[in-house]
Every structure is written in structure tokens, then in C-alpha cells.
Amino acid sequence: MEHSLLFLTAVKSPSKRVRASAALMGLGQLMARQWVKGLAYLGALAAFIAYMAATGVRDIAGFFTLGTVEADPWLGTAGDDSIIMLLRGLLTFVLILGLVLLYRSNLRDILETERTGAYGERAPGFVLSMRSFLNNKFYVVALAIPVAGVLVFNVIPIVFMILISFTNYGGDIVPPKLVDWTGFESFRRVLSLSGIKETFFRILGWNLIWAVLSTAVNYFGGLALALLLNKKCVKFKRFWRMFPILAYAVPGFITLLAFKFLFSYGGPINHYITAAGHSAVGFLDIDAGMKARIIGIFVNAWISIPTSMLLATGILSNLNPNLYEAASIDGAGPWQQFRQITLPFVVFSTTPVLITNFIGNFNNFGIFYFLRGGLYMDGYFLASDTDLLINWLYNLSIDNNYYSIGAAVSLIIFLITSAVSLSVYVRSNAYRREDSFR
């Protein structure tokens, strides 16, 4: 909108130079004898036109067709690679967006030049403009590289994944076969095909319970451990702190495989159960049900509590001990002190971490993949009763190569976690009282 207004202002401007820059980026600046700036704008435009002529137009066409000629590796004949075409088309759109932003800066620049000229001042040269830009908009310069990094490493892959969910990529349709746009077909299948729909909602329900429970257990477990090790009466604190850190230092999947063995029929737990004259217990087998879910939460706590403990220990060290002294004088007991002083202080500082943990647990692939992978249960479509959406996504997409379905489920997971995270965050003190809470 702002951009349209800027363009209309420029086109209707009485100044020839402004109208010239609106027609041809950089021309107005040249007319104002701003040679370097004018040539830079013109050069950027020329480079863009050259790129579009060389490959850009073809890339955009390819983005829409996703290829028309199928490669034949046997004959060695080259064909179109739909996925590369999709990616190149996406990059071309990003470049077009970049040009639009550059064009906008060109209009703003020439309008600013005209404004200063109206006061009888000399239009600033390139060096002066750059100096002024650096002084007034240093944040733009400072943020340029991080923003470019986020664009390349985060935004483009996410957009790419979203685009994939609107194609039929996967299954039998993998290069050299050509991929097609299929609209919302992947979403329709996930949400409407008999069996898949039921499985999706069953897993989603368990996934939400898992994420909330495991986040709470890890968080409060870590906090409890940190408070315990902060007590004056605890001797050899460093020694005790070492153990959770050791558990944290062992790679996660090694821990998971160790726990899988621990709870297997041939593992030490069942060894002692059978040695005591009882029957072996299937902790993780097909009948395990709730047992397997509880073990999952316990194992996740084993892996994650050390992180929470370290975090809480650091935050607690900043807490003013006088607050507790004052509270004691006022008659507050330990529980009240915890509720009124410790908890608000820690929660305020760690709300963003808590949200990150929630998302991490929601998408915790490893726990049930390593503990209980390789089961398809009755009532579930290619999944088990402990699988999370991310595990099901793996079964559906990577294991079965249905990339578009996987992308659709990913997008749904993304929407759910974003909605939950944002709504929790904007209601938290960490967001609402960011400047005042202390």
C-alpha cells in the first residue's frame, strides 16, 4: 500500500527527475548529477534484466510448469528437474522482491533529493548520502547480514517446504519423473482419507498431552533439583551437580538405546524381575500402552532435566536473598516463598525457554523412535500409540518417501506449535511486563 502511494506520488510529481526515476530506476539521480548513485541503480536494474533474460524468465516459467521434459538416465538425455526448477523459481521471486525494494528506495531517494532541492540546497552526493544513511539508519546496516542469513537459511527453506506440500512430490514421483502442482490435495488426503484422519487426531491429542507433561516435568524437575542443590544444608554441591551434567553430556541417542536395552525383555530390569520369580514385563512391546508412555516421559526427563537445572541454577544465583529474609520476617513459609518469590522470578526469566522446550518436546522425534520404533498398531494408520506427529510424519514421508504429504503434516505441526507458542507468550509476564517486572 505504502509502495503504491509512493509510486503514485512519484508519477504525479511535477519534477521531471522524479518521474524519470519512476520510469527508469536511477535516471532521475543521473539528471540530478548524482552519478555514482544513479549508475548504481541503473547497474542493478541492468544486472536484473540480464539475469531475467538469461535465466529468470525461464525459471519463473519453470516454477509454474515444474518441467515438461522428463530425463532418461539410461539414454543419458537431460531433462527437467522439477525440484530444482521449483527452487530456482523461488529464488527468482526473491530477486524480484529485492528489485522492488530497490526500486522503492530509488523513489524515496529521488523524492528526498527533490525535497532538499526545494529548499535551495545542493543534492547530496553519493558519499554524503552513504554517510547520512550510515548515521541515520545504522540499524539497517547492522541487521542486513543477519536478516540475509535468516532469509537464506530459514525463510526460503520454510517457503520451499510449504510449496512442496502443494505438489505431488514423493512416492513414485521423484526425479527424474516430473512433479506437478496439486493444490490442496496433500492436505485433503491427510485430513479426509479414512484411517489417516482418525490417526492424525488421535496422535495430535497424545502429542499435546506429551508436550505439556514432558515440558512441565522437565522444567519443574530441573527447578527442584537446582533448589535442592542450592540449599545450604547440602554438602559437596559440586559433586552432586556433576551427575546430571554427566547424564547431559552423553549423546541423546546413546542414552535412548541404553534405556531401550534396560527395558527390553533381555535387559537388566527384566532379569531381576524374572530372577525374583515373576514373569518378564513388556515395558515397550505392543501391549505396553501407558507403560511405554510413562517410560518415554521418564527417559525424556533424564535427558532434559540437567539443562533445566543448569538454567535454573544460573537464574537463582541472581535472586536477591534479602527477599527471602524479608518474607520470613513477614511470616511467609517455604511454600509461600517459593510461590510468591522464586517461581515468578524464574518463570519470568525463562518463559521464552519454556516455549522453546514445549516446541522441542512437541517435535521430539528421538524418544519414541529409538525406544519403540517399528510398530504399526491396530486403530492407527502406519503408526503406534506412542508415536508423536513428528514420528508419524517420518513414517509417512521419509520412510515411505511421500515428501508432499510430509510437508503438509509439517505445515500443520508448524501452525499448531506457532499458535500455541504465540498465544502463551503474549499472555506471559515476560511479554506484557517486559520493562516493568523486577
Binding site: D72, W74, P176, T182, S279, I286, G374, D378, N400
Partner: protein, 502 residues
């Protein structure tokens, strides 16, 4: 229409290419039968590179071949033989399961790759590997048709051979000779053929297992992870059932047949045998502890693959050392006592293992069928040097190289001439392959989807006797429930392959 036209062109070009390959003279060309070391000269494809600037072939081999030094020996021998022809082969230095479909189209990946038939044939359907005119290769005539079948693919009515077989794998039965029942010759060799009956039929193996387990609840006559389709395949494939059916001579992944024929009898036998095991048969516990447990005498027999022989041997040697023998004596005794035989060849047709084997008529048995695989070489479609690759494959499957491979790695070769010289095990496996006792893993992509559905149901059925022991209700008390379980396998496999395929 476009597809059909491209295949006509393809057929024409392949005919031209392959006639060029076989046109030159060569020591082993023309489908000669390799019978000995003198036969190992390369079939000539006519490829002549620049000796001063040789073409480089990247060869992907498995980790065992690298670790045991076979790959180095192969490359050295090939490079020496082809130094004047301007071809040099090097280790591709990639993960043995590297995905050609992902890397190949972008110019990465090996030129020649050695993988199991189910892995290699995943690439065939999308043409990531080249069809090979195998009749020109030295190994052609000495390799049985069953091994070639593992690499056949039919496209639009034309059959192509996509790989060159090297060796075959099947599950084998391992046992300790010194743990044999002392009276086996009088009690367990009714036909007096010198082979214990429990190595010949499943009823006697079951009877022996029951006897061993009844005498000592911590000992077991036969152990296997019942949830492992490959190892426990005799129960899943011996009863007229199949994995994928065929339509017009082509594997049909819409026809899934685990529940077909008298499959339910096999699943009943699996459930019955699980009673004579412990709960370790439900998950992969047995697969992990079989080496140690066979060595300490807890298991009399266990199923494994021939390439794990050294693990059994190492554990048994350690056991004898713990018993007080010296290193040398222990190793010698372990080699003498560790035996590897094929699984019992006869399974009762009605699946009831508790019958007296003597009471079963000849037509009351069915032949045990086990799942197996053929490893072999394929040529990447993305190689720049197709003829040079063919030269390499021909050299690597020559008599000398396969013999060296068998001697170094203990594989069971698919070349009959090498198998005949490699001793009992290789010869037995080779004969099983030729006679159809080995059900080769289907050579289509869809085979990836069979494992988890089978694993789930097989583990669940194996658990049933333990449910009953714990006072719970049996989940599979009769054939109707077992049949339903088999149909669940078929349905899940079908769903995994087709539901989302569009």
C-alpha cells in the same frame, strides 16, 4: 505415447551400445563358462582409454569388504590388469548404503556399486542404474538363473537385467557340536542317515527344544527373534504364501500374499514354538544375545546369517578360555565345535509342531522356504564411462576375484564353479538357491514396506503364549484370529505402498 516412443529409442540405442560392447574379442566374452583361474581374462567391450590419463571409476563396496582388505586387493588387481587400457578404479569412499537416487542425478555417487538385490533394484525402476548385457560376462553361464532373477526387471514388456550376482545370503542354524544330545544317533536319527532328525524337520527340533527346556527352564533348544521377518521367515513363507504376486510375469505390488495359501499354519507354528522360548523372542533380545548364549550353552541352536560366523566363534573361544583352555586350544576347539547348517528342510503342512514326526506321511510335510538375498554389482546410469564400468564388473565377477572374495569374506558365491571349490556351506547355499528353497527378497521398491507390518504382527503373535502364562486372555487362540492378523499385515503393507500414492 511419449513414454512408449522413448522406450523404442532406448531399445535401439541399447542394442547398438551392447553390440558394440560385445563386438571385440575377449578372453571371457560370449558367455563362456568360467571353470578356473585361466578363465579370468576380461571380456572386451572395446573400451580403450589413455593410459597416461586414465578414466577413474569410483567403486562402492560394503564395509566388510573394505575392513577385510578385499576391496584393496580387487582394486589393485584390476588397476594392474587395465593399466594399458586407461582405466583406474578407486574406492568411492562413501557410506555403503549411499542413496544413488539422491546423489546420482547431481553428479555425485559411485560409478559401480555393490549392494543387495532389494537395495540395488530400488534404483532400477527409476532408471538410476543401467541394464547390463550380462550374456557377455564371464560369470554368465556359471551363475544360476535364480540368481539372475534377483536382478531382472520388466518394463513395458521387455525384461532387463540390472545387476550381476556375486553372492547369496540366507539364515542358517548355528549350534555347538559338543552340546549335541549324547544319544542323538540312537534317539534322533530314525532314518539312520547320519544327520540328526532335529536338523531335518521342525517337529523334532520342537520336540528336542521342549525336552531341553523342561529339563532346565533356563535352557532352550532353539531361539530366534520371532519378530524378525528375515530370520523367522520359515514360519512366514513355507506355506504357499508369498510376498508380492506376479501379473504377466512382473511383480505386482497390489497383490500382497502373506495371508494367502496356508499361511495361517505357519503363524500357528511360530506361536507354538514361541512357547518353548523365553520372552526374548518377542523383541530383538535374541538377535543381540545369541552369540553369548549359544557359547554359554543356554541356547542349543540359534538362527543367524553366515557373515556372523566370526562373532559366534569369538564368543565360543572366550567361553572355552574361561573354562581353562589356552588361547590356542580354545580357538581350535571352537572351530571344531561351532557348526552352521541350513534350517530344517521339512515343516509340517498343518503347522502343528507337536506331532510325532514319524507319524507324518510324506505328503504331510512342506519344504521349508527361507528368505534370502543376492548381493551384486550394478552400474550407475550417471557414470561417464559405461563401457569401462562393464569391464570392471566383468573383472570383479571373474572366477579369481569371486574365489578371493569367498576365501577372504566367507561369502556363498553365486558362481557354481567357485561354490564347488569353497566347501560345504557355500555349496549348500548355492544348491538351495538353485532349488528354490531360498525366497529372494523381491526386487522392487515396495519391498521396503513389508518389514514393520510383519515385525508388529510376528512379535504380537509370539507374545501370545506369554500372555496365557501370565493369566491373561490369548489374543490369538485360533486360526481365525491368526488369519485376521495375516490380513492386517497385507492391509498395512498395501496402505503403506498405495494409500498415499495418489
Amino acid at each position: 505415447m511419449r513414454k512408449r516412443t522413448s522406450f523404442l529409442i532406448l531399445a535401439l540405442i541399447l542394442a547398438l551400445l551392447l553390440s558394440a560392447c560385445g563386438g571385440e574379442t575377449g578372453a571371457g566374452s560370449g558367455g563362456t563358462t568360467g571353470t578356473g583361474p585361466s578363465d579370468t581374462g576380461p571380456a572386451d567391450t572395446g573400451f580403450q582409454g589413455d593410459p597416461n590419463n586414465p578414466v577413474i571409476l569410483h567403486v562402492l563396496e560394503n564395509d566388510t569388504a573394505k575392513a577385510e582388505g578385499y576391496l584393496e586387493a580387487l582394486l589393485t588387481a584390476f588397476n594392474e590388469a587395465y593399466k594399458d587400457r586407461g582405466i583406474q578404479a578407486v574406492d568411492a569412499n562413501m557410506d555403503e548404503f549411499t542413496d544413488l537416487a539422491t546423489n546420482g542425478p547431481y553428479g555425485y555417487g559411485p560409478d559401480v556399486l555393490y549392494q543387495a538385490n532389494d537395495q540395488l533394484m530400488r534404483y532400477a525402476e527409476d532408471r538410476h542404474i543401467l541394464p547390463i548385457d550380462v550374456e557377455k560376462l564371464d560369470c554368465y553361464a556359471s551363475t544360476p538363473e535364480a540368481a539372475w532373477d534377483a536382478f531382472h526387471m520388466t518394463l513395458d514388456g521387455t525384461q532387463y537385467t540390472m545387476g550381476v550376482p556375486v553372492n547369496v545370503q540366507e539364515p542358517m542354524l548355528f549350534y555347538r557340536e559338543d552340546q549335541m544330545p549324547s544319544d542323538w544317533q540312537t534317539r534322533w536319527d530314525r532314518d539312520g542317515n547320519g544327520t540328526a532328525d532335529f536338523f531335518e524337520n521342525w517337529c523334532d527340533l520342537y520336540a528336542l527344544s521342549r525336552e531341553i527346556h523342561d529339563a532346565d527352564p533356563n535352557k532352550f533348544g532353539f531361539m530366534v527373534s520371532m519378530n524378525n521377518l528375515y530370520l523367522a521367515s520359515p514360519f512366514m513363507l513355507s506355506f504357499g504364501n508369498y510376498i508380492f504376486g506376479e501379473k504377466d510375469g512382473v511383480l505386482d505390488d497390489t497383490d500382497i500374499g502373506f495371508s494367502k495359501g496356508q499361511a495361517v499354519n505357519g503363524l500357528w507354528a511360530l506361536r507354538q514354538f514361541a512357547e518353548q522360548m523365553n520372552e526374548g523372542c518377542i523383541d530383538d533380545t535374541v538377535t543381540l544375545n545369541r552369540y553369548e548364549k549359544l557359547a554359554d550353552g543356554s541356547y542349543f541352536t540359534a538362527i543367524s546369517t553366515p557373515d556372523t560366523y566370526s562373532l559366534f566363534l569369538g564368543n565360543l573361544t572366550n567361553r572355552y578360555k574361561q573354562d581353562g583352555l589356552s588361547e590356542e586350544e580354545a580357538a581350535k576347539k571352537a572351530v571344531e565345535n561351532l557348526k552352521m547348517v541350513e534350517l530344517p528342510g521339512k515343516m509340517p503342512l498343518n503347522g502343528d509342531l507337536s506331532q510325532d514326526s514319524a507319524s507324518i506321511a510324506e505328503d504331510g510335510w512342506t519344504t521349508t522356504v527361507v528368505m534370502g538375498g543376492v548381493n551384486g554389482y550394478g552400474i550407475s546410469s550417471y557414470t561417464k564411462y559405461r563401457e569401462a564400468c562393464l569391464e570392471f564388473v566383468n573383472f570383479a565377477t571373474s572366477f579369481d576375484m569371486i574365489k578371493l572374495r569367498a576365501d577372504t569374506l566367507g561369502i556363498a558365491p553365486t558362481r557354481s564353479d567357485v561354490a564347488a571349490q569353497c566347501g560345504d556351506t557355500a555349496d549348500i547355499i548355492f544348491n538351495s538357491l538353485s532349488s528354490g528353497r531360498i525366497y529372494l527378497m523381491p526386487s522392487i521398491k515396495a519391498v521396503n514396506q513389508i518389514w514393520v507390518p510383519c515385525q508388529t504382527v510376528m512379535g504380537d503373535v509370539a507374545k501370545d503364549p506369554f500372555r496365557v502364562k501370565q493369566g491373561e486372555a490369548a489374543k490369538y487362540p485360533g486360526t481365525a484370529e491368526l488369519q485376521a492378523a495375516l490380513e492386517t499385515i497385507d492391509r498395512n503393507i498395501y496402505d503403506a505402498i498405495h494409500t498415499l500414492a495418489g
